[in-house]
């Protein structure tokens, strides 16, 4: 039973900065079943968020003792009304911020106890589509993608090939030399998706990736995410698009005021009971 957690290196599990009771012990892993979602024994854990609270400087409590466990290769939708804490939860995973309390472990690395110098290497394993895109304004689409690749040391030749492929996938080949401010909202969003996909991430984190896309394009993008998921990438997608969530029939985690109020396999956007 413990065999599956072998990839979690000991120094990540026991770190002087985490209070003793929060150390990642196998018995805590065994208890994830109480959340309503039973982690399949044969899969290993990719994202492990345990008893996490986030209180922003202005006193807003965005997450309240939230726990979420996601296995390798899962496809999960995170839904919830605006301001319920979806983006905050995702931010914790790519260590845009640290929680006030709790533990976050991504792909075996303890994100909450990580040295700042290790953060870039965590982020390189993740592909993130930001809610506000965060494209580099001084670089065109092609250069934005190239930057993400070259930062991790990809060879120039490889860079060209990869960018061509990904632009094709999101349907933006014809706009590759445009700067972000020369793109429509939907085109910017697709550029952001392309950048998240480009380095074959272990985990794909997408925050509202279809908010600026028409239904057809949205559906295409989600199909694309599913393809990537089938090839082994864990996908975590925060969204408000009920048609997509209902159509995909994937695991749905619903947040409300910073708490997980629903965690269903093959769920819908709305609670099936209500």
């Amino acid at each position: 039973m413990f065999r599956d957690f072998g990839f979690i290196k000991p120094h990540n599990i026991v770190h002087p900065e985490i209070p003793k009771h929060q150390h990642l012990s196998p018995s805590r892993f065994a208890s994830v079943g109480v959340l309503g979602y039973n982690c399949p024994r044969e899969k290993s854990v990719m994202i492990y968020v345990k008893d996490v609270s986030v209180e922003y400087a202005n006193g807003v409590r965005a997450l309240k003792d939230t726990s979420v466990t996601i296995s390798k290769g899962e496809f999960v939708f995170v839904v919830g009304s605006t301001g319920s804490g979806k983006s905050t939860l995702l931010k914790l995973l790519y260590r845009d911020m640290l929680p006030t309390a709790g533990t976050v472990i991504v792909d075996g690395e303890n994100v909450t106890a990580m040295k700042p110098s290790a953060v870039p290497f965590l982020r390189r394993k993740l592909g993130v589509v930001y809610q506000d895109f965060k494209l580099l304004p001084q670089k065109n689409v092609w250069e934005n993608l190239a930057f993400a690749l070259r930062v991790i040391g990809t060879k120039p030749k490889e860079v060209h090939k990869r960018i061509g492929e990904v632009l094709e996938l999101v349907g933006l080949t014809h706009r590759c030399d445009s700067f972000p401010n020369q793109l429509s909202g939907g085109e910017q969003q697709r550029a952001a998706i392309a950048r998240a996909l480009i380095n074959n991430p272990t985990v794909l984190i997408a925050d509202e990736p279809t908010g600026n896309l028409d239904p057809t394009t949205s559906w295409d993008i989600v199909q694309l995410l599913e393809q990537i998921n089938i090839r082994g990438t864990t996908v975590l997608c925060a969204t408000h698009d009920s048609q997509i969530v209902d159509g995909m029939k994937k695991r749905v985690i619903q947040l409300e005021a910073g708490e997980v109020i629903r965690d269903e396999n093959k769920g819908a956007y709305q609670n099936s009971e209500s």
Binding site: A118, V119, R123, K139, F147, A148, G153
Partner: protein, 301 residues
């Protein structure tokens, strides 16, 4: 983890990428390039002009001190042969640059010109003794050497112009002290103004830096292009400053000499190439350090 970063540093392909990044950065931020380079150029030009002027002033006063002479007068009525012998024995003393015997008649003519009020009616012929002009190598040996000369045979008395000498040395010291303090203050000011300008350019790009971090760029990957940019800006500014100084400096020295031809030897004693070297060094170092220091606050996670 540290070692991984180190290895990245020597990765040639990576360096190429970082330099590329630096240059696209410069090209894409035209206004910033202009503002930074012109600020650096003007600050360095002012600093450079001050340093040159001060070097000139130092050079000038040092020259004045070096030109300082000891006047040695033979005993009254001494013959030319005695004066020649005295000159020889003075030449043998260590620290003497040269000795020349002045023409008695010429000196008397000059004296009469200078003091026309002097009642010379009662005088028989030239009342002046032989005078020797002694130039020394090191100004600070003046007192020591004049004492030695005073002890020689046939010397009536020695005039070292102690008062004037002291004044000139004091003036030289004052200029040196003020210029040293001035250069230090101006250097600090220049460094501060330049790093302020760099800080503002980085502030305008803080979102960009943040995004790079989120894409997984290490601090090193973000920092290196910006430091290269700082060095390029600093060097470009230095180049412009050098051109300004060559043009402006030439003009100032020229017009100064037109107004006061006596300032003949007013020069900083620094060659054009030397000036360029120091300016480039200052520009590049200030640019690099300015960038390095300013980036730190934007790289804080």
């Amino acid at each position: 983890m540290k070692i991984r970063v180190r290895i990245k540093t020597v990765n040639l392909r990576n360096i190429e990428f970082l330099i590329e990044e630096a240059f696209t950065g410069i090209v894409r931020n035209g206004l910033m390039a202009f503002a930074s380079i012109s600020t650096i150029a003007l600050s360095l030009a002012v600093l450079g002009a001050f340093v040159l002027a001060m070097m000139g002033a130092n050079h000038f006063t040092t020259e004045q001190i070096d030109r300082f002479e000891i006047a040695v007068f033979t005993v009254p009525g001494a013959a030319k042969a005695k004066a020649d012998a005295l000159a020889d024995s003075i030449r043998k003393i260590e620290g003497i640059k040269d000795v020349s015997i002045l023409d008695r008649d010429e000196e008397y003519a000059k004296f009469k010109r200078e003091r026309p009020d002097f009642e010379s009616a009662g005088l028989l012929g030239n009342p002046l003794p032989y005078a020797l002009r002694v130039r020394i190598v090191k100004a600070d040996q003046l007192t020591m050497l004049s004492t030695k000369i005073r002890a020689l045979a046939d010397v009536d008395h020695v005039n070292v112009g102690q008062e004037t000498y002291k004044r000139v040395v004091a003036l030289a010291n004052a200029i040196r002290a003020i210029s040293f303090a001035g250069v230090i203050i101006l250097l600090i000011t220049t460094a501060f103004i330049i790093s302020n300008a760099i800080r503002l350019t980085l502030y305008a790009r803080r979102r960009e830096i943040r995004i790079m971090q989120l894409v997984g760029a290490t601090n090193h990957t973000i920092r290196t292009p910006l430091v290269i940019e700082g060095i390029v800006f600093g060097s470009a500014g230095a180049l412009v400053a050098w051109i300004l100084l060559r043009l402006g400096g030439g003009y100032v020295v020229h017009s100064a000499q037109r107004i006061t031809p006596m300032f003949g030897s007013f020069s900083s004693g620094l060659s054009g190439a030397g000036l360029a070297f120091w300016l480039l060094l200052a520009g590049a170092v200030i640019g690099a350090i300015g960038s390095l220091v300013s980036i730190r606050r934007f790289l804080k996670d």
